[in-house]
Subunit: 254 residues, 2 copies
């Protein structure tokens, strides 16, 4: 099962959700791959993998210069591997402007790792804060989309546009694509704002919104500086518990 | 004086900084224009201007279909006008891919409003969370760049790349461009993470980092839902005070 984690609004918890969901599935014994499709390479550094340097990344994979299997690296979590991003990826949409299959590159690259002895049972794709070619590649490669929604006003604004984009991708590029769900993130239930935004999201999208709400929890923001998911830093903190519950819900809906 | 507010990391406070600095200068009696160069159009909605609809936006200005003066609208703050964004702007880099002057479109559009009776003394440009054509247009049009830096780990990661991009723009497109400063945002001084990140930013960029630190303050997140800057919602809250101090520092460094 391939999940894209996407939302063009910046800073809503895409990378945090991708890393911590992937780690929770790996800890449950699954073989999991995290693909970092964001030139910021936050998912890579959040798992202790430094971008740059001589090694190839998802960038060369999209240009079809190397095979995805040649860029995959292990992480601190047994069972979780990562295909790291690189800064150069920011230029990929101009470099592939004339390629017929430009939206399909990531999906084609993933084909070989989805079957056989070494197959991954779960793939998570972290995407950048935009609706450009990298996010489209993630949506074309995915079976389902997980949409983190920060419980703040601006995050509400972009939801309709994102769901429109997902519909367009489903109609023209990937008929199997469906929305796994919206996950409310960084929620501070003591504030009216978080409660109001949550109520509004649940009333507009009652069936699409996960019951699990990820609370604002400093341990989630601290974990990246140690290069590990939060469940390795502090397995009993509210952040770890929330992503464990979310993983359970994602499987139940799957 | 034209200020671009830029950082490719998402959710670090670009829109919040652009709106509240612009409003603070307007309240001090200056004629101020806020240009929304982000297809998310958060600066527009944060000032009560709904994107979409029949009216033209910065999108048509960049395509040279209309004059900037024809899209400028008043806001709830006397002295502050806005040139709103539109969702369609997400496609502008492909639409202008073959235009020789594609990086100069915003700068050319601003020329007429910088002199004469109706001239603006300050222009703030809000940019999207990427280093694509829209952000480059903001950097080419600007005299100075204000860089919001959230006091969290991932926000540190992208700083070097952003400063590299600013150097490239200065060398090839806009020789006058300089960095006004880095402003630490959403800081919760009770956490080690915020203190550590602040210490790291100040040690790496001692002269570039503003003394003013914008604290995490719920009023800043609530103001956009009322379509007003925080100084109209709650003039004495920590958010309003911080942006007043920051405006003072920006002027002192100018
Ligand atoms: N539930 C949470 N509680 C506290 N901090 C969080 C939480 N989720 C994410 N963060 C922190 O908030 C910041 C933004 O999160 P993150 O980088 O995951 O968002 P993003 O959507 O991937 O951003 P971008 O749009 O730049 O890709 C990060 O510093 C992260 O560590
Ligand atoms: N100092 C602050 N205290 C509390 N909330 C804040 C503060 N600054 C910004 N916010 C809120 O945090 C969220 C992110 O801020 P904002 O949208 O301004 O960032 P941005 O960098 O413009 O995001 P994007 O990358 O999507 O353009 C918004 O919901 C905003 O209201
Ligand atoms: Mg991210
Ligand atoms: Mg913004």
């Amino acid at each position: 099962m391939i999940y894209a984690v996407a939302n063009q609004k910046g800073g809503v918890g895409k990378t945090t959700t991708a890393i911590n969901l992937a780690a929770t599935f790996a800890q449950a014994g699954e073989r999991v791959l995290l693909v970092d499709a964001d030139p910021q390479a936050n998912a890579s550094t959040g798992l202790g993998v430094r971008p740059g340097g001589a090694e190839a990344s998802v960038f060369e994979v999209l240009l079809e210069e190397v095979d995805l299997r040649d860029v995959v690296r292990p992480t601190a979590v047994p069972g979780l591997s990562i295909a790291p991003a690189s800064r150069d990826m920011a230029g990929v949409s101009l470099m592939l402007a004339s390629a017929e299959d430009r939206e399909w590159r990531l999906r084609q690259a993933l084909e070989p790792v989805l079957s056989g002895d070494e197959a991954y049972s779960f793939v998570f794709i972290d995407s950048p804060p935009s609706l450009g070619l990298l996010t489209v590649n993630a949506l074309v490669a995915a079976d389902e989309v997980i949409v983190p929604v920060q419980t703040e006003y601006y995050a509400l604004e972009g939801l309709a546009q994102l769901l429109d984009t997902i519909t367009v991708v489903r109609e023209h590029l990937n008929p199997r694509l469906r929305v796994a769900g919206l996950v409310l993130t960084m929620s501070d239930p003591r504030t009216n704002l978080a409660r109001d935004v949550e109520a509004e999201v649940r009333s507009h999208f009652p069936d699409l919104t996960f019951m699990t709400v990820v609370p604002r929890n400093i341990r989630l923001a601290e974990a990246p500086s140690f290069g590990v998911p939060v469940l390795l830093l502090d397995p009993r903190c509210p952040g770890s518990n929330a992503y464990f519950d979310l993983a359970q819900e994602v499987v139940d809906r799957g």
